[in-house]
């Protein structure tokens, strides 16, 4: 990749790699924006995320798949059907074209598998040393059925908290591929698009479903604290109910990390009124991405908005937000 502005080389590159990888009728329009049909009914949701993962390729995925799945998930968390994605690439001069192709290929595959096209995009190349390989910012829009209004402020005391599966897989997969940590494990990132699972959940729980959120950066701990803060409630969760794969637990022991704070990319937390909890859990367990779904606790009245946890050991603790990034520890 060479640093350039408006040249034919760059235009050809964008046309070649991305048009091939994302092939869809909207991108084919070849304009600086895509013209798109709007399905009837409902409200629109819009989201964006920047993806800056290091390394770019990790067990179970790469930044490209992540950038598709992550943004689809933020749409899905509103109970919405994801419709369209945009993708903005910031590429460091000298970045291997073969890697870009692999990333674009993964995005294309993720886009086809999820049925959500990347309808418009942009590429900028910056001088060497002014980025880190490639950054991707995706944005997405989706359609949420009229009447469904999931939101992080809707948890109420008594509501049930359900987690869709085991935590920490993504973060541990990433760390295992960082040179300076140098450990090996068979753990793969859980990177996945959750809109299918979400559709089944919305069907099953209907108005009982209050909110969903994907516990990405900062892990389950950050998400529960965010939700507690936003809804003005506390949460009380059971450590023993939270699925953690043995390798994830082991890697966390080795590095002095807590799986509660480790990132996930294919999991969600749902808060549901008690009356809908059983139906929701059953529907989730019937879906391939929710087979390990579990009730992990419930919301409680708490003006301190604490997330409290009964440990597997039987004691109690607060699950706080992390102050800054969780770093590997030696003491």
């Amino acid at each position: 990749m060479s640093h350039g502005a408006g040249g034919r080389a760059m235009a050809d590159l964008v046309a070649g790699i991305f048009r091939d990888a994302f092939a869809n009728e909207f991108l084919e329009q070849g304009n600086d924006q895509a013209s798109l049909p709007i399905p009837a009914g409902g409200r629109m949701v819009m989201t964006t995320d920047g993806y800056v993962v290091s390394p770019l390729f990790f067990p179970g995925g790469n930044i490209g798949a992540l950038a598709v799945h992550g943004t689809i998930n933020d749409i899905a968390m509103a109970g919405a059907r994801p419709l369209y994605l945009s993708a903005s690439f910031i590429i460091e001069e000298g970045f291997p074209l073969a890697d870009l192709q692999r990333i674009a290929g993964s995005m294309g595959q993720a886009s086809r598998e999820t049925g959500v096209p990347v309808v418009t995009g942009d590429t900028k190349v910056v001088e060497r040393g002014k980025a880190d390989g490639v950054f991707i910012a995706t944005a997405g829009v989706g359609l949420v059925p009229e009447g469904l209004a999931l939101s992080g402020d809707r948890a109420e005391p008594g509501d049930v908290v359900i987690l869709s599966g085991s935590i920490g897989d993504h973060g541990v997969a990433i760390m295992s591929s960082r040179e300076n940590l140098a450990f090996e494990t068979a753990i793969l990132s859980d990177c996945a698009a959750l809109h299918g699972l979400v559709a089944a959940m919305v069907d099953a729980a209907g108005p009982h479903l209050k909110l969903m959120r994907d516990p990405t950066r900062g892990g389950l701990a950050a998400t529960l604290n965010e939700l507690a803060h936003q809804s003005g409630v506390g949460f009380r969760i059971q450590e023993a109910a939270i699925p953690v794969k043995p390798q994830v637990a082991a890697a966390c022991e080795l590095l002095g990390l807590d799986p509660l704070f480790v990132a996930n990319e294919g999991k969600l937390v749902a808060v549901v009124a008690e009356a809908g909890a059983d139906a929701l859990l059953a529907a989730m367990r019937a879906h391939p991405l929710g087979r390990e779904a579990a009730v992990i606790g419930h919301a409680v009245a708490d003006d301190q908005r604490f997330v409290q946890m009964t440990t597997a050991f039987g004691g109690g603790r607060i699950v706080d937000w992390l102050s800054g990034e969780q770093l590997p520890r030696i003491c």
Binding site: S176, A182, F183, E184, T185, A186, I187, P246, Q247, A249, A250, A251, E253, L254, G256, R329, I330, C331
Partner: protein, 80 residues
């Protein structure tokens, strides 16, 4: 504290290094500080170094003591 964890030696490597395994996680560490190690031993690992070999017999004895303490409690709670 000093974060350290028991791990299984799976292979001894040249230069006083060894492979360890911890529930499917493996890593290369230094074993320069501990003598007489063999694959199958468990060691306490700290900042990439083995500090101490785990004594399997003593570990078993500790577990017995723990169980015993629990039993005693049962005895204590039960009407004497």
């Amino acid at each position: 504290m000093c974060l350290a964890i028991p791990a299984l030696i799976t292979a001894l490597l040249p230069d006083q290094m060894a492979r360890i395994s911890l529930d499917g996680v493996s890593k290369t560490i230094s074993v320069a500080l501990v003598e007489d190690l063999a694959p199958g031993d468990y060691v306490i690992v700290h900042v990439g170094h083995a500090l101490s070999k785990i004594d399997a017999a003593e570990a078993a004895r500790t577990l017995e003591l723990l169980a015993e303490a629990g039993l005693l409690a049962g005895a204590a709670e039960a009407p004497a």
